[in-house]
Subunit: 226 residues, 2 copies
């Protein structure tokens, strides 16, 4: 396991989150990349049900996890953390210039062109599920996400991973697709369905998931979290 | 003007878009970065009202612009294009490791943590404005975006730009804020309002905007575009 108390790499994670968020907190992406590359790290945890301290808001202006410290370097946003870690290991991004460009293209596609519309289904199905507008909005939100998934399904024809070798773009896309799959299933997208299973079957993903779950040792909040 | 018919850098753009999209198509980000760095480029245009040809879908799987060719390197997603161009000029990203990390963090914040929720207002205010759900959804969508803008407003206290010097993160954030401003105004966010005006007052932004507008030389579509 790359958990190493002497590591210079610190991942900020949570000691407590609501039940439905367990296994889905975005520090999973950083942990997965670190596990793939065999890079040791340690975690520093916050409680998602409590106000974020000022020192953490200086690390992560939105008060969310993950943030990462690598020696003297401080970063936030899981996409930026993936790009930073990718420079440390060819296992995460090949040195070939076209493969690098393709890794960056697909990583940004996951975060901007796909996850934006998964967020919308999260609002519709979870946060605002009791609202009238959410019921009315659901079909068009699902339709839009499907129209974003179809080209990726096509791009994966005959390929195991987006770029060729496994890269951080697959960590980005698979974590997004995992939630898309929860919301609408991937039965219409045979390549995406097989790709997601292939990504999640990687031992590094399972170790990352186990490590996130193992950090949830905090007590529930004193008052119900908003 | 960096438009140079002999350049190895090709930006894919549109020759026609609906009136309301003029000046807002995402090739603006690539053009702005190229103008800041003084890098020559040429454009290759498509018609937004016509079906995308297969050769373009191989450049950009979603059939959108921008895509970019730089010699032998092919990229898509405006965020990936900004990161690629940033490696070509210190005007776009300083070499200092912490400044690089901060540039990547803020760029990803713009594309994932902010623009995702601007898209939602675009749906509510433009695409689905006649739908009952859009009217019901609007207040909570505005509220969510405001809660994302407040920490950025705070982070800009006493600063001209997000990282220190101007970087591609400012191109990302300013183009996102420009649309946020159209949807809900920035009157409650004095730092953001001043920051957006400061970014858009840069001569390179104006040149990029003029260049996008100058490429809209195509005829309207034969049938109304969907």
């Amino acid at each position: 396991m790359p958990i190493d108390p002497h590591s210079e790499i610190i991942v900020f994670a949570y000691s407590w989150v609501p039940e439905m968020a367990k296994g889905y907190v975005r520090d999973l992406r950083a942990r997965w990349a670190l596990e793939e590359a065999g890079l040791g790290y340690k975690t520093r945890t916050l409680h998602a049900g409590e106000e974020r301290p000022d020192w953490f808001l200086a690390e992560q202006p939105f008060g969310q996890v993950p943030a990462l410290i690598d020696g003297d370097i401080h970063l936030f946003e899981s996409g930026a953390i993936l790009l930073h870690l990718a420079e440390k290991s060819e296992v995460l991004m090949p040195k070939d210039p076209q493969d690098r460009a393709s890794t960056q293209s697909w990583l940004l596609a996951a975060f901007n062109s796909v996850e934006s519309f998964v967020f919308e289904l999260f609002f519709v199905n979870i946060i605002f599920r009791k609202e009238e507008w959410a019921k009315l909005r659901k079909p068009s939100a699902e339709d839009f996400l499907r129209r974003r998934l179809a080209p990726i399904d096509k791009a994966l024809t005959g390929k195991d991973y987006l770029v060729g070798p496994f890269t951080v773009a697959d960590i980005a896309m698979a974590t997004v697709l995992r939630e898309a799959n929860d919301h609408l299933g991937l039965a219409d997208f045979a390549n995406l369905d097989a790709y997601l299973k292939r990504c999640l079957a990687r031992p590094a993903f399972q170790r990352a998931l186990d490590a996130q779950m193992a950090d949830f040792t905090g007590p529930p909040p004193a008052a119900p979290a908003n």
